[in-house]
């Protein structure tokens, strides 16, 4: 039997890689992909605990998180398309219209 802490460690590794991606990359599309990685890491935790306690509640929360990820990806990519049409850039540090 694989101990649950190994699932937590896997989730921690994916989460850390995602956080580093969000904080260091300049391309907004890759930042969105890193957010998907973070949400995925959370889902692994939920499913691992659902397995540990023998209850499907964790899996139901994982379904809600997947729903949120879909909504977030749709709106985020819509914003990227609108921004690219106006400013011709996808780099996060060039999006400084509100900075003075």
């Amino acid at each position: 039997m694989i101990p649950t802490s190994h699932y937590l460690l896997l989730s921690l590794a994916l989460f850390t890689v995602g956080v580093i991606g969000v904080l260091t990359r300049r391309n907004v599309i890759i930042i969105l992909m890193s957010i998907e990685l973070i949400l995925n890491a959370v889902n692994i935790n939920l499913v691992a605990f659902s397995h540990l306690y023998g209850s499907v509640t964790g899996q139901i929360f994982a379904i809600f998180i997947i729903t949120d990820a879909a909504a977030e990806a749709a709106v985020g990519l819509g914003i990227i398309i609108a921004y690219f049409r106006n400013r011709e850039t996808v780099l996060a540090d060039e999006m400084d219209l509100l900075k003075w």
């Binding site: 039997m1 694989i2 101990p3 802490s5 190994h6 699932y7 937590l8 896997l10 921690l12 590794a13 994916l14 989460f15 850390t16 890689v17 995602g18 956080v19 580093i20 991606g21 904080l23 260091t24 990359r25 300049r26 391309n27 599309i29 890759i30 969105l32 992909m33 890193s34 998907e36 990685l37 995925n40 889902n43 692994i44 499913v47 659902s50 397995h51 540990l52 023998g54 499907v56 899996q59 139901i60 379904i63 809600f64 997947i66 729903t67 949120d68 879909a70 909504a71 977030e72 990806a73 749709a74 709106v75 990519l77 819509g78 914003i79 990227i80 609108a82 049409r85 996808v90 780099l91």
Partner: protein
Amino acid sequence: MPGDLMLNIVLFYFFAALAVVSAVLVVTRKNVVHSAIFLITSLLATAGIYLQLEAEFLFAVQIILYVGGIMVLFVFVIMLVNLDVSLHQLQFNRQWWVASLLALVLAAQFLIAIWLGRGAVNLSPPVAAALQPNSELIGQKLFENYMLPFEIASILLLVAMIGAVVMAKRRI
């Protein structure tokens, strides 16, 4: 059954290694399309881990929704937006080392938390049949105990759909 147990362990470590390696490649690749492909690999490996954790419904949802839906959306937007210029630009911002350091400090804190809680978490596994008619159990729970969150999630999806359509329209 020791054979099954062995297979279980091998599958878990294989999928875990695949997920982590492709996640690292998502963050480090220069080409956005390569990042998207590696993100698909990482999500599929996660789906394998769900299957190994007896979450068959979530396994199907992960493949259909993430790999089939969200990733197609990503690839579409990459095709619409991708500039050849951006391949030759700097890929990481100026504060990358501070950010990585802070992220690693955060990871170390979580690691300590997992280490301290390892006794509570590594309990003996429950009876194997508790999760077993998986789709039926999820359906019952979802439509009995979690009906209101389910409806709110559908409203959220409607709002996101309208938002995405309005956002991507040519004239707002």
